[in-house]
Amino acid sequence: MRGATHARWAACAVTVAVAAAACGGGGSGGGPGVVTSSWGDPQNPLEPANTNEVQGGKILDMIFRGLKRYDPKTGEAKNMVAESIGTKDAQNFTVKIKKGWTFSNGEKITAKSFVEAWNYGANARNNQKNAYFFGYIDGYDKVHPEQGEPSAETLSGLKVVDDTTFTVKLSQKFSTWPDTLGYPTFAPLPKAFYDDHDAWLAKPVGNGPYTVDAYTKGSQMSLRKWDAYPGEDKARNDGVDMQVYTDNNTAYTNLMAGNLDLVDDVPAAQLRNAESDLGDRYINTPAGIIQTLAFPFYDEEWNKPGREKVRRGLSMAINREQITETIFQKTRTPATDWTSPVLGKDGGYGPGLCGDACAYDAARARRLVEEGGGIPGGRLRITYNADTGSHKEWVDAVCNSINKALQKDKACVGNPVGTFADFRSQASEQQLDGPWRAGWQMDYPLIQNFLEPNYFTDASSNDGKFSDKEFDRLVNEANGETDTAKAVATFQKAEKILAEKMPAIPLWYQNGSAGHSDRISDVALNQFSVPVYEQITVDR
């Protein structure tokens, strides 16, 4: 009877396979009018004040509208839910919100929806990773002390006046503060968020042009157009299906095979072919991202007077033109200041502000490095994380360029670190003794956002612990300036100090690159290199 057992087993296997096939069915296509787009698995829970990376940010941008919104074309912060945000002294603000806005579950949006959301985000008890965004508001140190339990539950600087008005008192002057309010962290939250937090996280409810139809964590989120959306920027398609891809190469392959409409991150390996593969369906536009090499100022060797010559010399030894062309296929632009072209000249972008120090000049580079006393320790080790973003290629190229300019074979080497987390912990705990790759993706299109978090004494992203009194003074002065043009000019004065001291070598401005199918049109990337989903139209 053994033969029979075998046959039965085989039959079972087939049955299981067929049954599994039947139950596993259901395609990925979203149907007519729905765009399918590549997505990455967000690493944090999807809450406005807890989302600090692009993948989660994309979704928040679709399902939330805050007081302001950055114009996808110009980057200008325009009033969205806000009727007006007024101030006389750059420190006390009165926010009036428009009537008629609701969340997609019908709840009315009032001043309270904002104030409560901000109090929640700032409170240390809620472990929100973007809590520091509320740091300018008076009373932040009480709800989010450096150590220990908070001594207050709400920010003393926030006061609800009536249903449509609230006031904000900042702890210092900050004239461009209203322009920061387009960041998703400042979104309003409905009652459902606090009432049943887990349910909200499983299916977030917001006030944006899209609603979440279905969310399978780690694999797909279906967003559908919210027909009753009160804003002017209504979705022009019926919805977007965000599909998680582990590998952007697979996403690109799917785009080529016609299974996917939109890839918003063309893999480095495909950049060479993207233009011929896609033609005018390949998008390559500037984004608010700059890459730099940061230096350890906590290390005596790098902080000595005269070392700025070494840093400037190293900067001159990097052939930015060649690297951006050969390695990045022109999806990067050589940097000549510490901001980004997306700010525009009025916003503070200062092309050429870095001066000679950002131009390739091997002979002067060599001379400067020698005058400055040579590279500390005799060898430059550039630390980077090897897990994502093909950083190895450009770090090797930068080192190659430096070695050639200094005419020493081993003057510069790459120092790969296995994972991003490990890399970040080494950088933020001041464990590195040489430069490291630093990148800055802007939170909001303001020159302030490029300078203050990175180079102000003890600022949140100043991992190298650069400190300069004059720089700090100018930044404070600029923040207190009510006239925007004057504020920008003062920020640029501060930036000139960076050009002298070279706390970080500007490398290049990064572009956003995307590709789409011929099924959709009107695809564009905003300054954050995120597709402007609601403007996409579906042709067939």
């Binding site: 990925s28 967000p42 600090n52 472990n127 929100q128 780690g218 694999s219 998680v244 697979t250 392959t253």
Partner: protein
Amino acid sequence: MGRYVIRRLLQMIPVFFGATLLIFLMVHVMGDPVAGLCGDRACDAATAARLKQEFGLDEPVGQQYLTYMGNVFVGDFGTAFNGQPVTELMAAAFPVTIRLTLVAVVFEIVIGISLGVLTGLRRGRPIDTAVLLLTLVVISVPTFVTGLVLQLLLGVRWGVIKPSVSSGAPVDELLIPGLVLASVSLAYVTRLTRTSIAENRRADYVRTAVAKGLPRRRVITRHLLRNSLIPVVTFIGTDVGALMGGAIVTERIFNIHGVGFQLYQGILRQSTQTVVGFVTVLVLVFLLANLIVDLLYAVLDPRIRYA
């Protein structure tokens, strides 16, 4: 038999603890995961401290391990960094990978053994040489090359399949990924079966069976094949565990959201809970597969008895 099974199960306990402790230490050595959670900017000290506390990262590693194992025994595998319980991730990932592995194993059994029998019976003939060459090629080409080439040809150029598997991962979409995953093992199964068959063909009991006048089909399936399958079963059995763990490459190429996907994400984000949880289950699968293989010996060859 019963005592043998119990002894084997008891042996699993130290292996299980050793393996999990090793993985735990390995992930721990990789550094502070909280630093990566806040992106390019450092978490503020207060939030970082609270997050560490939430994930139990503020305790010494030995204590962390004990707490973790304690929780595992009541079925709590902790929480991944995105706030999802690891058991939820497992419930989503394991069925997919098990389906993929099943497809792969079926390919190994059906194609591998048939080709093995075919070539074993026709040793030295052109078909034997051809299959030998073919298996040599398959073994020497890395899986990701096979995967990417098949994906490009079948998925993009000819449009026969979808280049990636949709989120439900139905079996028909898993056929090509399964074949890719199985490819190398399949070649080994072919070669093992061939050698084994070729050897046993000259054995006395086969000659006796032929001399008795049994039909050729019966001689091959009941006498020759059954005895020749012992090494093959060993291989396939241990391969089940290897396939599930090794699916990481195939899953990445075809964007299958299974165990490989979760492990990859877990390692990138240094999420101890995710990595240790998944590896723990994989270790169990491996151990059980080995036990089943050993028990199957007795079924194939009644002379093997376990006391």
